[in-house]
């Protein structure tokens, strides 16, 4: 884990001399947490925290593959639509009398297919992922409406629904948070401790160079899109159970929350830089901040302005730091051009 930061250095020397953004976000998170406990008596109790964490479930899950995608310079904007399609499909099949245990694998396969379509369009046709997934965002949401229309399906089996609304026995930790922790550990290991992870950073930093270094760029991207589709479909099932309502419009706009968390966590939108720890801090920061603002009856508009500003600062600060870094480097005679 020597390269635990996972940052490909080379875009500017002496990065270590600056405080990294993911550390800043984590510090902010700690500040918001303790500040919140101080400000609001209702904030720090386990009920509230356990609910606030549970509420982040789907965003947190989808943020994992999204981090990997953004690190390698890609983005998947269709995730919330895949979630909606998965939800609609779950509802439709449930209405049709299918067993829930059968519905789950079928819906997951559909998620894989959605991801595969994204991945193939990006890798085979060489289209930019932003354009492709803006298209499939619309396409998959449209399909969700074809499947279920404006109907809402409810009354899913209680034993599964409970898994999404209750805590691991004896702890204040919701089941989906426990699952998230598990998957986050796996993702962190992949990103920061394996060759695949190094390959992702390399692709994000310099795709051509990565390709010539023997990295199977297209294959890796394709797999990431498929994983993204799979996780989004899974999140769709969790979402449906948690709210007890399958609808085609479930999760509208959720992709923006996910990308906001990834960016806030310090992952460079151009690829090549970022840490999973930063993203997790980002997800938690947005969630807890929103919860705190709501507890204090801060108007929805202000909540939106606060998160917006935070996001802009998070993208801007590392850039500014980069400019400062470059200027300093230029002043040194030995500095090689980046």
């Amino acid at each position: 884990m020597a390269e635990a930061t996972g940052t490909v250095r080379g875009k500017g020397a002496g990065a270590g001399r600056f405080v990294r953004w993911d550390v800043v976000v984590t510090a902010l998170l700690v500040a918001v947490f303790f500040g919140g406990v101080g400000i609001s008596p209702d904030f720090g109790n386990t009920d509230n925290l356990s609910f606030a964490l549970g509420d982040l479930g789907e965003i947190a899950l989808i943020a994992l593959p999204m981090t990997l995608l953004v690190v390698c310079g890609q983005v998947d904007l269709s995730v919330a639509s895949v979630l909606g399609l998965a939800s609609a499909l779950t509802g439709w099949l449930w209405n049709a009398g299918w067993a829930f245990e059968t519905i789950v694998p079928v819906v997951l396969v559909v998620g894989v297919v959605c991801g595969l379509v994204n991945g193939l369009l990006v890798t085979r046709l060489g289209l930019p992922s932003l354009a492709v997934t803006i298209g499939t965002l619309s396409l998959y949401r449209g399909l969700a409406y074809v499947v279920l229309g404006t109907e809402a399906v409810s009354q899913f089996p209680a034993q599964y629904a409970e898994l999404t609304t209750t805590n691991v026995p004896g702890t204040p930790i919701p089941y989906q948070v426990a699952l998230f922790v598990l998957l986050a550990v796996v993702t962190a290991l992949v990103l920061h401790a394996t060759g695949v992870g190094r390959a992702l950073f390399a692709i994000g930093a310099q795709e051509d160079a990565a390709f010539h270094a023997g990295i199977r760029v297209k294959r890796i991207k394709l797999v990431l899109f498929v994983v993204s589709g799979l996780v989004a479909a899974f999140a769709g099932i969790v979402y449906t159970l948690r709210y007890g309502s399958a609808r085609a419009d479930n999760g509208v706009g959720l992709e923006l929350a996910v990308i906001a968390a990834v960016l806030l966590g310090g992952v460079d939108f151009d690829g090549g830089k970022g840490t999973l720890g930063g993203v997790i801090s980002g997800v938690l920061l947005i969630g807890l901040l929103r919860n705190l603002l709501m507890l204090n009856d801060v108007a929805t508009e202000i909540q939106s302005i606060v998160t917006g500003l935070l996001l802009i600062v998070s993208v801007l600060t590392p850039r500014l730091a980069g400019v400062v870094r470059e200027r300093r480097a230029r002043r040194r005679p030995a500095a090689a051009p980046a």
Binding site: T123, P157, A158, R219, G244
Partner: protein, 365 residues
């Protein structure tokens, strides 16, 4: 470039494997499992209230209640909530409005949980989705928080009472009464509805037809039910079509806010202005100009101020133990007088409110 193609060939195989695994899992689970028929309602049992009501209990002071509309900045619900908040002043309660900026099914849920943490005495909700809000509302009720739904109901087991703006039967019947008044009880008329399968519209039309069977409407004849699909342009064209097809047409009832505005717009710019009666269900802001230019004399909807007022009093009565939400209990609602709790905890505001030149400027929604 050749290396690339070798890389390309491998990918599909791994997906084939995934797909195969998926299909196998499907096959394994296809026989047996939890289906809709075997699963016995996942909604969970409602917190059946066993408490008994004390109609003479005084209204408690300092009750904390929160209105949670479908979406903040919805002009209609803002009006309702404001009325409810000012009603709370009458019984010395503390009321507020909070809510999401989007009307998605789930966005209300985090607000419900926050209100639970804030230990409100009552939550008043206009639900975006009858089931998505159910779990958290039931949790709230388990902690002794009273839940009132208004405007748009939740599943019945998730709230104590539902404040219904108007019963379907009353809407249907009073629309016919109003039209009869405006047409002097005779002549041909048509209904301009929304879509052919809109449940609420069809229920209203059914009661209109029931009402028409009464002898006092013997000289009135319903010649056609047209559908404008809640589309302004289509409703406009349907109006035009009706007037061409039925030269003796004397009136149009449009029990839809889109339909009535489109019909009024057509009539106001045509030779039929002042000759053909247009009425139905509309909002004051949409209809103001047509009321002022004389195209429409009267139309109906409910009074959002009264709706909020009633909901506010219902919450206070629940918190104070005056009512529990059981059928037959009587709710004392300040200046509105008394309302009886109906089946399924439904409390009806009353017959629709009639808007005309004299009162339309008091409303902004």
């Amino acid at each position: 470039m050749k290396e690339r193609s070798s890389g390309r060939m491998r990918a599909p195989r791994s997906f084939l494997a995934v797909a195969t695994a998926g299909i196998m899992a499907l096959a394994l689970t296809a026989c047996g499992g939890t289906t809709k028929d075997s699963a016995n309602s996942g909604g969970g049992a409602g917190a059946a209230s066993t408490a008994s009501a004390n109609p003479n209990a005084p209204l408690k002071e300092g009750i904390k209640l929160a209105f949670l509309p479908k979406q903040i900045n919805n002009p209609y619900l803002t009006l309702v909530d404001k009325a409810g908040i000012s009603a709370a002043g009458e019984y010395k309660g503390e009321a507020k409005e909070v809510g999401p900026s989007d009307a998605s099914a789930s966005s209300q849920v985090s607000y419900i949980n926050t209100l639970v943490q804030q230990r409100q005495d009552a939550i008043l909700i206009s639900a975006n989705d009858p089931n998505a809000v159910c779990g958290p509302l039931q949790q709230a009720r388990r902690r002794g928080i009273k839940v009132v739904s208004y405007d748009s109901d939740t599943a019945p087991e998730c709230r104590d009472v539902f404040i219904n703006q108007a019963a379907s039967e009353e809407i249907g019947r009073s629309q016919v009464k109003l039209l009869a008044e405006l047409m002097d009880g005779e002549g041909e008329f048509a209904v301009l509805s929304a879509t052919a399968n809109a449940t609420n519209q069809n229920t209203w039309i059914k009661y209109m037809q029931e009402e028409l069977k009464k002898p006092e409407y013997a000289k009135m004849k319903l010649v056609k039910i047209a559908y404008g699909d809640d589309d302004d342009q289509k409703s406009f064209q349907q109006t035009q079509g009706l007037l061409q097809a039925y030269p003796d047409l004397k009136g149009i009832i449009a029990p839809t806010t889109v339909g009535i505005a489109a019909a009024a717009r057509y009539i106001s710019g045509s030779q039929y202005k002042g000759k053909v009666v247009v009425t139905g269900l509309g909002t004051p802001n949409q209809m103001r100009q047509f009321v002022k230019d004389g195209t429409v004399e009267k139309f109906q909807l409910w009074n959002p101020n009264d709706l909020g007022y009633l909901a506010s009093y219902a919450a206070a009565a629940l918190v104070s133990g005056q009512i529990t939400g059981k059928q037959g209990e009587v709710l004392k609602a300040g200046r509105l007088g008394e309302r009886t709790v109906g089946a399924n905890g439904e409390i009806v505001l009353g017959p629709p409110f009639t808007f005309d030149k004299s009162n339309i400027d008091q409303f902004d929604f």
